[in-house]
Amino acid sequence: MPYPGPYRPPAQPAAAYLTAAPVLAFENLMKSRGQGGVGFELHVPAFAVRPGELVALVGESGCGKSTLLDLLALVSRPTRCAAFRFQAPGGATGALPIDIAALWAAGREAALARVRRDHLGYVLQTGGLLPFLSVRQNLELPMQVQGLANVPGRVEAWAARMGVEGLLGKKPQFLSGGQRQRVAILRALIHQPALVLADEPTAAVDRTRARRIVADFRALARDGGSTIVMVTHDRPLMDGVADRTFGFTLEQVSDTLTRSTCREGVG
């Protein structure tokens, strides 16, 4: 099914999404990692992201943000968890929620990969753009992978929204750090995935620029109908931007075990 064409702003206010069923939700999740006799446990009592939200995961390095991001990205298997569900957006008919926990339990990695491909988008710390493709090719790639017909003018329209329309013919190596992140964000959003995971997308950019990037990110995601979970160590950056914020509390259980608990509003 082709995209509806060039970007058009939605007619309804964004707040309407907030009442919908969560895109992703789990409860009582635990992930334990052990390495060289030093154990680490991440506990998440409850987590849910609703359509259109921007959820911030804020914490210092080593607090387990990346571990949680891997879990959300469906690339890391939770050690234990209750009711891990992903609600694929189903339009008018509504699709049944996908039981991620069951897929992990059954070892159905291909099914998980399919969910990732169809519904998730990623913004990596340094962009993760393919260096051998031009900006335009990078932006077109997610649509090609998913077999979507490219609507003429669509890439240009989306690029204009992110302010990178003049860079389409360039290779990533010729972009500045901020430009690269904008393109990376655009690539994560362009096929309008249900959930976009962003890992410190503005780490390499100064605060002022970072705020503008996050603002554009948010606006575009909401207009495209995508939900954002963004990991950052920079709490002030998220002030007034994030719909909800999750923080981490670390406790040293023993000499060999560190436990981190992630809760909304903490930190």
Binding site: H119, Q144, G147
Partner: protein, 639 residues
């Protein structure tokens, strides 16, 4: 509208999706190669630098062997099988062997001694002597050396002969067959047109190739015969007489010195005294009481008339009477009443004087003569007195020499001696000759004629060079010793095998190195691009799709390399062939096709392409396997 905007696309159907994914990965792989074009170019050059010399080496090997082979296969000389010795081959032999499918060409030849013929431009005084060789339709020596089979009145010359004579194709040539008859030199002349001059390869001897008819005519003329068709006069082919032994009757016993002298320069090897009884048994004649009888003989073969003459000279003055005899006379008479005449036959040609000395009626045909042209004199008989047919005027006779049956009629000259039929010694001598070589009796002229004995040799060419060995073996099995150059092709085969082995040794080293480089480079690239490959996985490309990434790259690099290598090969081959062009001119002429010292069969290049791509495919599997170890989660973490 908003609802529309957030509806994600449905996945496409699986097969189209698989093809689409492959196309996407291929595009990515190519884009990556293009992005790192310097590395790609280096790798392509490195592989081409390995493959190109291998192609050159293979081309040189193939070109060299083919040039050698071609010279061999194309040169009819290597298909020739020559008799190693002179012996008689009858027409039936030629008919049988000529029909064999492996025989490309077969013609009888004449004795080398008869094949020398003089040649000159018409009316020019100087005569060049050439070897006259028979040819005929399909003669590969002529056809494959730029000649045309000569028709009647035409000949083909070797280059040496043509240069010596100063003639070219189309010129008229005078052939002069010479002989000496009765001490007088004679010359039979015929004019022929030079149909063609053969290329150098056909041989360096001065030779003239002519239709078999002309060659046989020349042979006949040289043997003293007339060839009416060419206006050459001479004798008719009268058979000569030959004998098994000579009985010598002398009034006085021969001294030891005289007897020893009889075996010097006469061709005779023994002289034994013969008792009267033995003489009677052998001849059917009584021995006159005042004569001593000796029997002269020969170890093997026949005694010719010349020997008889020599003995006669040696015994001049001793009053010797010579009675040459034939051991086995196959002469039979059919009497008028149908009964066979049982009496033995003896040849008695003596003068009236000698007949009187022996106490016999002188035979009407008189003494022994060398000249046998008078057939009336030869065909007479004195039948035993008292036999049934003694009174008839003629009697049918039949002789069965080895060659066949001869029927002729003898005039009954009267009654002879009791118990023995007497005929001219020369008649028995002729019939004796008929056991050695074919003699016919010509009813029309009433003469014995020497028939062609067959031929003393042959020129044989196998159809294909590979047939030579088989023909050679079969001819030897028939007891015909032959000479062939069959080993030449085997030597080339050995050379080819050796060169092929060397090529593969070099190829294995080169290819191993080249593809080790490709494997290492692809593997390193996967290591280097773990993150990019991870991102590709994260974007939704399946494990097996990313698996293809290095395979596409390896195959593309190999494909570009082999194309470059082929271009390099073609350019180098052209240079090499030009450098060797002069040396190859001879070979090219021989093969009548463009010869190249560096050449590959058409099929080799596509095979090289396919083989290279397959090896590249296999080489890239290591790197491809490595990609499957990449977890998309790796791309998420950025340490």
């Amino acid at each position: 509208m908003v609802a529309d905007a957030i509806i994600p696309p449905l996945p496409q159907s699986a097969p189209r999706s698989a093809r689409r994914t492959r196309a996407t990965v291929l595009r990515l792989a190519l884009a990556d190669l293009g992005h790192e074009w310097v590395l790609t170019l280096c790798l392509v050059l490195a592989l081409a630098a390995v493959i190109s010399p291998l192609l050159i080496l293979m081309g040189l090997k193939h070109g060299t062997v083919e040039t050698l082979r071609c010279a061999l296969v194309q040169d009819p000389a290597y298909r020739e099988i020559r008799p190693a010795e002179t012996r008689a081959y009858d027409p039936l032999w030629f008919a049988t062997w000529g029909k064999r499918p492996e025989v490309g060409f077969l013609t009888p030849t004449i004795l080398p001694a008869s094949s020398i013929i003089g040649a000159a431009k018409p009316d020019a005084p100087g005569t060049q002597f050439l070897d006259l060789i028979p040819t005929g339709a399909g003669d590969p020596l002529i056809l494959e050396n730029g000649g045309a089979i000569p028709g009647a009145g035409e000949v083909v010359l070797t280059q040496v002969a043509a240069e010596g004579l100063g003639v070219q194709a189309g010129d008229t040539l005078e052939l002069r067959a010479t002989r000496s008859r009765g001490g007088q030199p004679e010359q039979g002349v015929t004019r022929v047109r030079v149909a063609a001059v053969l290329g150098q390869r056909a041989g360096t001897l001065a030779r003239v190739y002519a239709p078999l008819g002309l060659v046989l005519d020349v042979e006949s003329y040289k043997e003293g015969m007339a060839v009416p068709g060419r206006g050459w006069d001479g004798g008719s082919p009268t058979p000569y007489a030959s004998f098994d032994g000579i009985l010598v009757l002398v009034p006085e016993p021969l001294t030891a010195v005289q007897r020893a002298g009889l075996s010097i320069n006469t061709g005779l090897t023994r002289s034994d005294p013969l008792t009267a009884e033995a003489f009677r048994l052998r001849t059917g004649l009584p021995v006159p009481p005042d004569f001593h009888v000796y029997e002269l003989g020969i170890q093997s073969g026949a005694i010719q008339m010349s020997s008889v003459r020599t003995i006669k000279d040696k015994l001049r003055g001793t009053g010797a009477i010579l009675l040459p005899y034939v051991t086995d006379t196959s002469l039979r008479f059919a009497q008028a009443n149908g009964e066979a005449l049982a009496a033995p036959v003896f040849g008695l040609s003596v003068s009236a004087d000698d007949a009187a000395r022996l106490g016999l009626t002188p035979p009407p045909w008189g003494a022994l003569r060398g000249e046998l042209g008078d057939s009336t004199r030869l065909l007479q008989v004195l039948l035993p007195a008292g036999s049934v047919s003694a009174a008839s005027t003629a009697i049918e006779a039949e002789a069965r020499p080895a060659g066949g049956t001869l029927h002729f009629t003898l005039a009954v000259a009267g009654p002879g001696v009791t118990g023995v039929a007497l005929v001219p010694t020369e008649l028995l001598g002729v019939l004796r000759t008929a056991t050695d070589r074919p003699i016919t009796y010509d009813l029309g002229s009433g003469r014995f004629l020497l028939a062609r004995t067959g031929f003393q040799g042959f020129r044989l060419y196998a159809r294909f060079i590979d047939d030579v060995a088989g023909l050679e073996r079969d001819l030897r099995r028939e007891g015909i010793d032959v000479i062939a150059q069959g080993q030449a092709i085997e030597r080339i085969r050995i050379l080819d095998r050796g060169l092929t082995r060397v090529f593969w040794l070099v190829a294995v080293v080169g290819i191993t190195g080249g593809f080790a480089a490709l494997i290492a480079s692809l593997y390193a690239a996967v290591q280097r691009k773990r993150r990019e490959l991870g991102v590709m996985r994260l974007l939704g490309l399946a494990r097996l799709a990313v698996f293809r990434f290095p395979i596409y790259q390896g195959t593309t690099i190999a494909g570009l390399s082999i194309l470059l290598a082929i271009l390099g090969y073609l350019a180098l081959a052209m240079v090499i062939n030009q450098v060797f062009a002069a040396d190859l001119a001879v070979a090219s002429q021989a093969c009548r096709t463009a010869q190249r010292i560096c050449a590959l069969p058409n099929l080799y290049l596509p095979i090289a392409v396919v083989a290279t791509v397959i090896v590249a495919l296999v080489s890239s599997l290591v790197a491809a396997w490595k990609t499957t170890r990449i977890d998309p989660a790796e791309a998420l973490r950025e340490e």
